[in-house]
């Protein structure tokens, strides 16, 4: 998926200016990090991409389509092209790991044979194939985050977004998670990871967008 932000601004009704004059271009198959202090606008930027929020000014173009021109009824279809990993992973504890990961496929109406195959493939990729019957509550923090990743990638999204995916994990686990994102990027998925773990980002050697008070203050490779 190819994403272009053109002078995008977001002002909340409270008057708070979350983003201002944000412009960047994420190529198809690119991987980038989004960094900055908390409150710099990272989450707002991700929400605009997912159409949870709408920008106040500027244009967001996804694969040639202006998101402002996209009607409300198309929002679900837009979101199906995007896999999202949350810091607090947003897993549902009333069902098994398998059912959590199956959710994005169930929503599209896939049949159960196909769901089984793809859920197991996704769990295999994150190394949790043996734990599909567990309740996510019984898993460690790192494992829960990997279930979240499996759910994000299970329907082969064109864009993978992650909001502080390593926020609660120790450095070793964080590195594993980042490597996973890199592997998905290698098979052609566009990846954007919001993180303030600068040391880890530095080791990954990808493009870094730095936000400060809603503005992009740095866009380039990390050195």
């Amino acid at each position: 998926m190819e994403i272009e932000f053109q002078n995008v601004g977001k002002k909340y009704e409270s008057g708070q200016e979350a983003l201002a004059q944000v412009s960047f271009h994420l190529q198809q198959g690119e991987m980038a990090f989004l960094t900055g202090h908390s409150g710099a606008g990272k989450s707002t930027l991700l929400k605009l991409m997912m159409m949870i929020e709408r920008q106040s000014s500027g244009r967001i173009i996804v694969d040639g389509t202006d998101l402002l021109a996209m009607g409300k009824s198309l929002i679900p279809l837009h979101r199906r092209r995007i896999g999202v990993v949350f810091q607090n992973h947003q897993l549902l504890f009333d069902r098994s790991v398998f059912d959590n990961v199956a959710l994005p496929l169930q929503v599209t109406g896939a049949d159960s044979a196909q769901i089984g195959k793809r859920v197991r493939a996704a769990l295999d990729k994150v190394g949790l194939l043996g734990k599909e019957k567990y309740n996510p509550m019984a898993l460690s923090g790192g494992e829960q985050q990997r279930v979240g990743i499996a759910r994000a990638v299970v329907n082969k999204p064109q864009l993978l977004l992650a909001d502080e995916p390593t926020g609660n994990l120790d450095p070793k686990l964080s590195a594993e998670i980042m490597n996973l994102f890199q592997e998905f990027n290698h098979v052609g998925t566009t990846v954007l990871v919001a993180s303030h773990d600068l040391a880890l980002i530095a080791r990954m050697r990808h493009r870094v967008l730095t936000l400060n008070q809603g503005r992009i203050v740095n866009d380039g490779g990390f050195n």
Binding site: K47, M50, I52, S73, I75, P76, L77, H78, R79, R80, I82, V84, Q90, L92, D94, L103, P104, V107, T108, G109, D111, K117, R118, A121, D124, K125, R151, K156, E183, V187
Partner: protein, 343 residues
């Protein structure tokens, strides 16, 4: 690690080729896809139909309470309806000879009155006509009223000639309209000053039954509104307890229709089960009351039989209650799903 995913991709690619090859046979392809979509549609609905039932069983006590409230609220108008039906059926059996009294104009001659009497008794809708002359009227009036002295002091007999017409049609609740039309027609005759149908008690009963019917309708309306509110409130708390799930579903691209569906089925289940229990209530109460009513009927040596709800009425009851369930949850779900914001 990627072998699996690439093999899946290849399969996807072959499937695309196949569709491409078949694209010439568009009609067949269209049929295949539409039947695929239909089977998908039915499969999803069947799954959710059963899943939503199992959701009711997750909190059996509160579901049971809700069902009972719905059932009681529905069985009240249903029971009143059965009662009304019985009262109507018992009263429709009451039939007796009726009389339409024609008060003729005072200046009319006896011969003219007699001629009219013969003419009327020849009609097919008239059984017989009895002629009450002014003198006969005076005599019977004296006997009944006890006003002999006042009447005898009058210079002349003030009473008109009366023709007592017995219609072929007996009077009952169902024939009341026919007889009323006949009375109006007789009153329109030149010689007749005033015609009176002797069925006042039946007219009172008819308007009383009419009042009863209106009362049942008004009460039913109120109770149906109550069921709407109960279903709405139950669905609202069900949506609330699934807030996390709905948030995640919205995030991963579930349509509002997909999110709404299990709650609509939940409403449908409340409607079907609540309606069924209401029917059981009505049957139970009917038999309970019916046995004591049968004793009463025996005392009067009546050949009246109690009527219960017909199969068609049971079906209507279920239909109405399921419709209330679905519509009630539709309203609640639309309000509350929209209120769940992704933040």
């Amino acid at each position: 690690m990627y072998k699996r995913s690439s093999s899946v991709n290849q399969k996807g690619a072959t499937r695309q080729n196949v569709t491409l090859k078949n694209s010439k046979k568009t009609r067949i392809k269209a049929n295949v896809t539409s039947s695929f979509v239909m089977s998908l549609f039915f499969r999803q609905h069947r799954e959710i139909f059963l899943k939503s039932l199992s959701r009711l069983l997750v909190s059996p006590l509160s579901s049971f309470m809700t069902l009972m409230v719905i059932a009681v609220a529905l069985s009240l108008p249903g029971g009143l309806y059965v009662m009304l039906k019985n009262v109507q059926s018992v009263t429709s059996q009451w039939e007796q000879q009726s009389i339409i009294s024609l008060y003729l104009f005072a200046e009319l001659e006896d011969t003219e009155a007699l001629a009219l009497s013969h003419e009327l008794s020849a009609r097919s809708d008239v059984e017989s006509v009895s002629y009450v002359s002014k003198e006969e009227g005076l005599r019977s009036f004296e006997q009944v009223s006890g006003y002999e002295h006042i009447l005898s002091s009058l210079p002349e007999n003030p009473l008109p000639i009366v023709l007592k017409v017995t219609p072929t049609q007996g009077v009952s609740l169902s024939s009341l309209d026919v007889l009323e039309r006949q009375r109006v027609a007789l009153e329109a005759l030149n010689a007749v000053e005033y015609a009176e149908l002797d069925a006042q008690w039946l007219q009172r009963l008819a308007s009383f039954l009419n009042f009863g019917r209106q009362f049942v309708y008004a009460l039913s309306l109120l109770l149906i509104v109550a069921v709407f509110l109960i279903v709405g409130n139950t669905i609202r708390s069900a949506v609330e307890s699934r807030r996390d799930e709905i948030t995640v579903m919205k995030m991963i691209g579930a349509t509002d229709g997909y999110i709404r569906r299990p709650f609509l089925y939940m409403g449908l289940w409340f409607g079907i089960l609540g309606g069924s229990i209401a029917i059981l209530f009505i049957i139970a109460v009917s038999y309970w009351v019916g046995s004591s009513a049968a004793d009463l009927i025996d005392l009067y040596h009546s050949n009246f039989e109690l009527v219960f709800l017909s199969f068609k009425e049971f079906f209507m009851c279920l239909l109405v209650s399921s419709a209330i369930g679905v519509i009630g949850s539709w309203i609640a779900v639309n309000q509350h799903i929209a209120a769940i914001d992704l933040q």
